[in-house]
Symmetry: C2
Subunit: 271 residues, 2 copies
Amino acid sequence: MAFHDTLRDVQRSQQSLLCVGLDTDAARLPSSLPRTVEGILEFNRRIVEATHELVCAYKINLAFYEVLGEHFWQSVHETLALIPRGIVTIGDGKRGDIGNSSSYYARTLREVYGFTASTVNPYMGTDAVEPFLEDPDHGVFILALTSNPGARDFQHLRLRKSPLYEAVVRKARRWDTRRNCGLVVGATRPRQMQRIRQLAPSMPLLVPGIGAQGGDLRLAVRHGCDRQGEMALFTASRSVLYASSGPDYASAARLAARALRDEINSVRTRR
Amino acid sequence: MAFHDTLRDVQRSQQSLLCVGLDTDAARLPSSLPRTVEGILEFNRRIVEATHELVCAYKINLAFYEVLGEHFWQSVHETLALIPRGIVTIGDGKRGDIGNSSSYYARTLREVYGFTASTVNPYMGTDAVEPFLEDPDHGVFILALTSNPGARDFQHLRLRKSPLYEAVVRKARRWDTRRNCGLVVGATRPRQMQRIRQLAPSMPLLVPGIGAQGGDLRLAVRHGCDRQGEMALFTASRSVLYASSGPDYASAARLAARALRDEINSVRTRR
């Protein structure tokens, strides 16, 4: 089943457009947990148990796991095993290389880890992205307009008629021949998000930036969803994971995730 | 010592501007070796033994190792351990993420693995690149104009006055406050390389594309070196690693590497 259909189904059955980012940092674990790989996995287990009914997806940012060195693969593998089937898993590695090398990254994300979807950096163009798109079941979120300050440096640069990120969006629409391609669009720029949704009415948008980065959730929901009020994933990481630094971290994460899910649903159903 | 100085020293003591890419693929190992992690490490050991006198650097493309899953960290770690001290090691991961996440990638490349230098994707801008640049000892090669077909899709797009990759080059010059920043510039586009060398007269250029990708080595050397005929690294991977598929692969790799080193030196000393 093409990723677009999988995503819509999961969002309907879960009644949620929330994606929790498992960007787990040993240095920020509650003091009740050891600052080890075991501590990280126990934390992830309790967070997933507390939030899996409230989300459509989990996003695993590989940066936070690769730093574990020899425990990298195991920590990602075991975290994925904690996530119930039927929830979308996004391998957030922002990879991208010449075609021959990108095919290895694509195989790693799809087969070695078994993620449902990946994030991909478009700077190197079609042959860097194509290996990720080969399997229609696998979702590919192309970085278009990211949520960070550095997005200004290149993504907003004006081409003859439009900024670079719009060229990325147009190209991604052409790449989307198998209904598995999406876009990363930060919540920190709602006006531009509205424009991107016009350019790509049916592609899924992965939307970071609503928590610690300060994007306006309600505006992002209004502009990011498709006409059915679906096909956007609003990602929160730190604001859920570290909602409490005490031993009640899991229940605090559940409350934070529920509040986000409900706020998203309240805006999207009003359309 | 700032990376620029380290690189110049190594290139002088080794009398070489050649960088061998250890993009080792289990499926392409000689039939005398098992298609396992042990086979890959034995292959790398023999290749490094046969070529280390002929190179200034080895580049390890992480795509080829991450696909090994649970053996990823170990295979990179043990390959790095094979490389004699005094040779530059480049962690070719093309990473880049929002500042908070990029700081983990930077720590991984610099400290967890211990590479001398990294390749970084500029699409997400300053805060994505800055964590890699913090340590002057660590070299950072920013993807500017890559060697693959997809480079056409975005890197060549015209801004008001110049193509996107030139904006990346100008920005990288501003990022280079610690004399540790360089650029990735494919050998497949010599005219543009000449222009980039004018814009960045003293930055090191990492130049892929001279082997299997078909770039013109002589033109690349002529346009890529600085005024002293240094500060460019010409990378060959497949054309060295797989110079022979028989049991003589190591000596064939040595011959291929020596021919490349000598050809590079013959062009650069004629300036």
